[in-house]
Every structure is written in structure tokens, then in C-alpha cells.
Subunit: 284 residues, 2 copies
């Protein structure tokens, strides 16, 4: 392991993900502290043994203690934090994050950052429909993919530490992706799916659907319970890639409408066979 | 219970659903026999104790034994069966089915049927991505909704028997629906969701997605593993209602595209809050 237990780990932002990181790392005997907005979150994390100490104030003393800093903040708050407090980092600090979009965002942060501090972007592909440290749960990492998106600014050592972090969290697979390819993939597998779910849940006024639905509808709308502040920000931040994915989806959907309209059973069956074949790869 | 254990129950078609009915009913000590296409299915069901006897041949003796007949066939095969063999029914036989579309289909069957035999249409809202009696499993009914869609041709007694069947299978809720309303609802909650899943799974050529996906994508595409013969038939049979639902979905999806394009965060957040609120009703 490159990520040894002698590394001090500071988590900034004890939300659902920050809290789940703290829980996973503390359970594996890493030294974890946290800075978070409310004393309530800090108290909760202390009480549950997720951190050894925490504060609501950003101080030099607290920040320079850390070898590794994990940001669990919304993208624009993360950016502001770097602008306001990066002078507190100890030289050589490695920072990483849980941010679901990369691309321009990563370029901005890396462009702002001191030369002696390294930002290695990453995030796990997991979450919950609820937020807050009270809902933190390190079981969310079980079976999850962990994505590391290094740029030409990253060192091999930081990449290794970041990959190790994914394994230590308990993720099932650690993959590396180019930051632009990342945003395209995330636009497709994560953001498009959320767009579909909220569309499906709001596209008509039918009432009492819960009396009639099967698991299909429940599965497709699970993520329609959504944090509107966070996701609207993520959608805008990845606008170009997301709109391209939405367009591809809509065009294929329109093809299917035409197949049904014209009763083109052969085309429909070919599409279904292809979807069946592609989906088989995903069974865990 | 109106559906007493002195009623003889015959299942026609031992597929996934027919087999699961047989399993649930036999486990609760109902007398169950079956007619199915292959001897292999019959042998499997006998060996697993799902039926007390079975045959691949449709004989008067076997059919007239039954008080209740449950059809687990594809819609067009069900229709052909009634045309070919309905003379074998004992007067007073009640027949029901597992067919996921109703509307015109129900009118056709009820129109063809002898006056002394009653067809009460119903089906459970559950299934699996795999087919065949070997995959039968009466746990699919746990938590499921069971829909009964009576018409003016149905008697109160048959409706009661059919509702009881839903409870005996182990469904969580039994609901009654008008047949046209049924097709609209099914077009929405079941068929549209399958259309979305197969579209999502086939709308681009990205490879190795399984390395990058989270649970959202897996949830939305679980039903993209689909029986192409059955579902293309169901789509065509419910064409008008399904196309209407697809159109409503597509129009709402296009609105969301515009919100993202124009960075209308307020509209996006309002849509997300509405979807969150609506989805809450579905948590089991």
C-alpha cells in the first residue's frame, strides 16, 4: 500500500460521501479528521467514531496536519475553498475529491492550485437518494466502481495513493479515465439516467401509480428522489457532454417509436436482442 | 375464501409465470395440474412438486377436470387455444390469465367464448428477465401488485375468485382497474419503462461501460434483458396507449433538454423537487 496508515487524512465536508469515506477509513484504522459546516455533523461523526477530531473552523493548524485531504463539497464550494484557504496546506499535500464531474472543473482547480500541492481527481460511482452525514454508510462502496481521472499534472505517486484509497474504501473495481472521456461516460451512465428518472416521474399527472406498478417502474425511478441543488449544478457543469448524451438517447427512442408505429417487429426484436446482449455484461 | 381448496386448478402454459403460479398454489395445498408444450416442462414441474399431473396433449378429460383455468400463454397463442379447444371446458368453468395487456384483447376473448364459461382478466405486476418453468419462483409475488380488470360480462363471484387468487399467490396488493385505463397505466408503468431501458442500452456504442457504471445505470437497464418475442407482441397489442405514453415522456424529456441548454436552474430544481415528492409514494 502506498496509502499507509502513517498518513493523516483530512475530510472537508461531512455529507453523505464525506461521512462514508470517514467511516470506511476509520474502520480500517486510518487517522481521520474533518472540517464541516455544522457542529452537529462533527458531533455526529465523533460520536459514531468516524473521525478522531473535527472542527467547523478552517484553521492553518487543522489543515497543515493533513497529508491527504479529501473534498466532499459541491463543486462551486470546493472551488471557493481552494481560493480562500489553500495557503494553509502543508507543502506536498495530496488532495482528492468525490466530485462527479471532471473536465473543465479539474482544469480550473489544478490551474488555481499552488505548485507544491497536488490535486488528483477521483470519485466513487455510488451514492444514495438521501444526503447528510446521518445517512453515511460505508457499505455504499461494496460492489462500486471507483474512477480516477489523472491529468498530465499528476505524479505516479499521487495516482497510486488515490487508487489505493479506492481499494481501502472497499470499492469493487478501480478504473482510470481521461477527464474528457470521463465526462462523456458520466453524462451517459449517471446524468442521463437521472434525467430519464425525473422525466418518467413527472411526465404525466396519473395518481396512485403505486397501486399498479411493478419492480420495473420502481427500479427506473429510484433515483427520481434527487438532491435538486446538487444535481442541477452537476448538470450545468457538464452541460455539453450531457446534452450530447440526451440527444443520442432521444434519437434512439424516436427510432423505437417509429418501429412501434409501423409495427416493424423485426427491427424491434433486433433492438431487444442487442440490448439483452449488451446488458448481460453488467450483471455483478 | 371464495377460492376454496376443493376447486381444481388447471394451468395452461408452464412458463415463468405459469410455473410460478403452480408453485405458489401447490405450496398452499391447492390441487394443480398443467398442460404445457414440452414434456420437459411437465417433468420439471412434477419433479419439483409444482403440479400433481400434467400433459402435453390438450384432451377433453384433462380440461373438463378443471374448475379454474389459468392461461400462462402469449396473447396470440391464448387466442388460438380458445378457438381450438374451448369445447372441452366444463360448463361453469372460470378462466383467467397472466396477460399483461387487456383492452381489445379481452374483448376479443370474451366475444369468442362460450356463454357458459367466464373469462375474468387479471395479471400480477411482476416477472423476471429470464423465462421458462426452470426459472419459476413464487417469491416474485412478494410485494407485487395484482391487477384484476373485470368487464360488464363478469360476475361478482368470478371477480372474488380472481381477487382471492391474487392473495393466495402472495401478492401485496390486489387492485381493480377498468380495461382501457389498465392499458394506459400498463403502457406507462411497464411498457414505457421497457422502451426506455432498451433505448438506453442501445443508444450508443460505448464499450466496457460495466467498468464505470454505478447502481443508477444498472437499475435503469435491468429490464433491458428482455424476451424479444413476447415484448414485441405486447408492444404492438397495446400500440395506441403505448405510443401516447412515449410521446408524453419524450415531450417532458425535451423540456428538460431545454432547461439544461438554457441553464434554467429554477425550472430544473422545480422538476426535481416534484419528481422527489412523487417518488416518495413508491417506497415499499
Amino acid at each position: 500500500m502506498t496509502l499507509n496508515r502513517d498518513k493523516n487524512i483530512l475530510i472537508i465536508g461531512l455529507g453523505l460521501l464525506g461521512g462514508s469515506y470517514a467511516m470506511a477509513l476509520s474502520r480500517k484504522d486510518y487517522r481521520v479528521r474533518a472540517i464541516s459546516k455544522t457542529q452537529q455533523s462533527i458531533d455526529y461523526a465523533l460520536q459514531k467514531g468516524m473521525i478522531e477530531s473535527g472542527t467547523t473552523e478552517v484553521t492553518k493548524e487543522f489543515v497543515e496536519w493533513a497529508d491527504i485531504v479529501i473534498f466532499g463539497l459541491y463543486p462551486h464550494i470546493f472551488k471557493d475553498w481552494i481560493a480562500d484557504y489553500q495557503q494553509f496546506f502543508k507543502p506536498g499535500t495530496i488532495i482528492t475529491d468525490v466530485t462527479g464531474i471532471k473536465g473543465d472543473f479539474v482544469r480550473t482547480i489544478q490551474g488555481m492550485l499552488r505548485e507544491d500541492v497536488e490535486y488528483i481527481p477521483a470519485h466513487p460511482m455510488c451514492g444514495k437518494e438521501v444526503s447528510g452525514v446521518e445517512n453515511a454508510d460505508d457499505k455504499i462502496f461494496t460492489g462500486a466502481n471507483y474512477l480516477v481521472t489523472p491529468t498530465e499534472k499528476n505524479t505516479q505517486e499521487a495516482i497510486e495513493i488515490c487508487r489505493d484509497l479506492g481499494w481501502i474504501l472497499g470499492c469493487y473495481r478501480v478504473a482510470e479515465l481521461d477527464i474528457d472521456k470521463h465526462d462523456e461516460i458520466i453524462g451517459f451512465v449517471s446524468q442521463l439516467t437521472h434525467c430519464i428518472a425525473i422525466t418518467l416521474m413527472t411526465c404525466n399527472e396519473k395518481e396512485h401509480l403505486e397501486k399498479y406498478t411493478g419492480d420495473s417502474f420502481r427500479d427506473l425511478t429510484r433515483i427520481a428522489r434527487i438532491n435538486d441543488v446538487m444535481w442541477s449544478e452537476l448538470f450545468i457543469d457538464n452541460k455539453a457532454a450531457l446534452l450530447e448524451q440526451m440527444k443520442e438517447f432521444r434519437e434512439q427512442f424516436e427510432k423505437l417509436e417509429t418501429m412501434i408505429e409501423t409495427e416493424d417487429v423485426d427491427a424491434m426484436r433486433a433492438m431487444m436482442r442487442r440490448s439483452t446482449q449488451r446488458r448481460k455484461l453488467f450483471d455483478k
